[in-house]
């Protein structure tokens, strides 16, 4: 069954909310595992894992150093060098936090790497208010790869002019050399694009239709409602069950 983009979004979002609300290490680890397995079966693991690692490794390392070595609240001291004290509480805290964030990051990334952006945009655009948000999202995702090739073109043009950008020039100066033409051309293009979009009814107040057909079976609509309900319940339970201020 092909998932409607909003269904996968609801699944990822509610998984993230429930994991955060539950704050349980086994659940976090299970969610991490599930997200990796799902994306491997969907064939996106190759892109997902490096992206997740790029986010999680520095984060985990930072937390481990921060709390592993310095955790004034810790009581069970495992080792000590000068001001640095390795405490069991600190290590557990770092591990729990990393797992919890890892679960959220993997669940959301599994969504963003598997969703078909054109489908998502089509679905959002046909739903009123979200049209402009969909535009911002899709346009950013399209411009990102285009911009790297544009930076490359600018660098080539400037090297051909005799500006040795890669060495020699001071880094800040090299940044200005490339940033100014880049930003200028991006703003200029945005001006043309604005006119082109306006001429094609970008700001029309009325209803829209969508050329792309994204089926939305009733079953998935029910599933979405259930997922959102579960997430809301988990959050409410955590907030109500935790005494205020503790």
């Amino acid at each position: 069954m092909r998932l409607h983009p909003l269904t996968s979004l609801a699944a990822a979002g509610s998984t993230a909310a429930i994991t955060t609300a539950a704050a349980s290490l086994p659940l976090s680890l299970a969610v991490m595992g599930a997200a990796v397995v799902l994306s491997a079966r969907g064939g996106t693991a190759r892109r997902l894992l490096p992206a997740a690692a790029a986010v999680l490794l520095p984060l985990g390392l930072s937390l481990l150093v921060m709390h592993g070595l310095f955790f004034p609240e810790g009581r069970t001291v495992l080792a000590q060098w000068g001001v640095a004290r390795v405490t069991a509480e600190g290590l557990v805290f770092a591990l729990e936090r990393t797992a919890q964030l890892g679960a959220v990051v993997l669940a959301l990334l599994a969504f963003s790497f598997s969703v078909s952006v054109p489908d998502l945009v089509a679905v959002l655009s046909s739903r009123g208010v979200h049209g402009r948000f969909a535009f911002v999202l899709a346009s950013t995702l399209t411009l990102l790869p285009a911009i790297t090739s544009r930076v490359e073109r600018i660098r080539q043009a400037q090297e051909s002019r005799g500006l040795v950008v890669r060495r020699g020039l001071h880094r800040a100066a090299a940044f200005r050399l490339q940033a100014v033409p880049l930003v200028l051309s991006l703003i200029e293009d945005a001006g043309t694009r604005t006119a082109a979009l306006e001429a094609r009814g970008f700001s029309n107040p009325g209803p829209r239709t969508s050329y792309r057909d994204v089926p939305d079976p009733i079953l998935q609509r029910v599933l979405r409602a259930v997922l959102l309900g579960a997430a809301a319940a988990a959050v409410a339970a955590r907030l109500l069950l935790t005494p205020a201020g503790s």
């Binding site: 955060t20 984060l59 936090r97 964030l101 402009r132 911002v136 100014v180 604005t194 979009l197 503790s246």
Partner: protein, 271 residues
């Protein structure tokens, strides 16, 4: 057919509804911050810590989303089309700097650029959208949406009051913006992450922790070291970029014309 070739004047009722949403969004962010700081939940480093994480997350996110809903539909198309460009600048530079060992972020250049060209409301929406869209590849930036919106809003206000007319004022405005932005974002880092996401910033927090500070205090102090410098740099870079724009390109933005944001641009002619 004939009357539709021109646009009607904007309706005041819609503007009032949007104003209400803006106020609600700002109130949600402010209330969340005040609650978190006043309550100083002891469970940051003690218990599972998820209640305060949830409050920080949902309060700031709801506020940011309300701001987007209030501002985005009212922005002129020229600004909406520019927002993706700003987000790309934010993301490309932010990813790059985040991967180095510099205790800065430089992930707000696009946001501040929009704020200077199109005003505080557009800046706030851009900041919030930047975090949300960026979370597509890096979900950890999502909780900072409210802080990013605040930066955009403050940058717009600074531009409106002439802080970009003198070249030396831009870093000063950035410095002040950074102080406010850093203080507001610190609870997110503390409650949601239990730390910071970068290695360099993490080292600074560790240093304060080794002196016995609470996590929130340590992260707030770290933010007060990193953020003002970071924003001073960002504002300076944006000033360089804005003055490199040809006059015609700058003046196509009504905000720049009306408030004489940049030196050397004459105020709006005629209307």
């Amino acid at each position: 057919m004939s009357p539709s070739l021109t646009l009607p004047a904007p309706a005041p009722a819609a503007a009032r509804k949007r104003r209400l949403l803006e106020i609600l969004g700002a109130a949600a962010i402010a209330a969340t911050y005040i609650y978190l700081v006043l309550n100083q939940p002891a469970d940051i480093t003690g218990g599972p810590g998820s209640a305060s994480a949830l409050i920080a997350l949902s309060g700031f996110l709801v506020g940011a989303i309300l701001l987007i809903v209030a501002v985005l539909p009212a922005l002129p198309a020229s600004t909406v089309v520019l927002i993706p460009v700003a987000l790309v600048l934010n993301i490309v530079l932010g990813q790059f700097v985040g991967s180095t060992l510099v205790p800065f972020y430089l992930d707000a250049i696009g946001t501040v650029l929009i704020a200077v060209l199109a005003g505080p409301a557009a800046g706030a929406a851009t900041g919030a959208l930047s975090s949300i869209v960026w979370s597509f590849f890096n979900p950890t930036v999502l909780p900072f949406a409210a802080g990013a919106a605040l930066i955009g809003c403050l940058a717009g206000l600074a531009a409106r009051h002439g802080m970009f007319r003198r070249f030396y004022l831009a870093p000063v405005a950035g410095f002040v913006t950074g102080i406010i932005g850093g203080v507001v974002s610190a609870p997110v880092a503390a409650f949601v992450f239990g730390g910071t996401s970068g290695v360099a910033t993490g080292a600074i927090v560790s240093a304060f922790r080794s002196m016995g500070d609470t996590l929130l205090a340590a992260i707030t102090k770290q933010a007060l070291i990193s953020d003002p410098m970071d924003k001073a740099i960002v504002f300076t870079v944006v000033a360089v970029l804005a003055y490199a724009l040809p006059r015609r390109a700058r003046l196509q933005y009504p905000f720049v014309r009306r408030h004489r944001v940049l030196a050397g641009t004459s105020p709006e002619q005629g209307s």
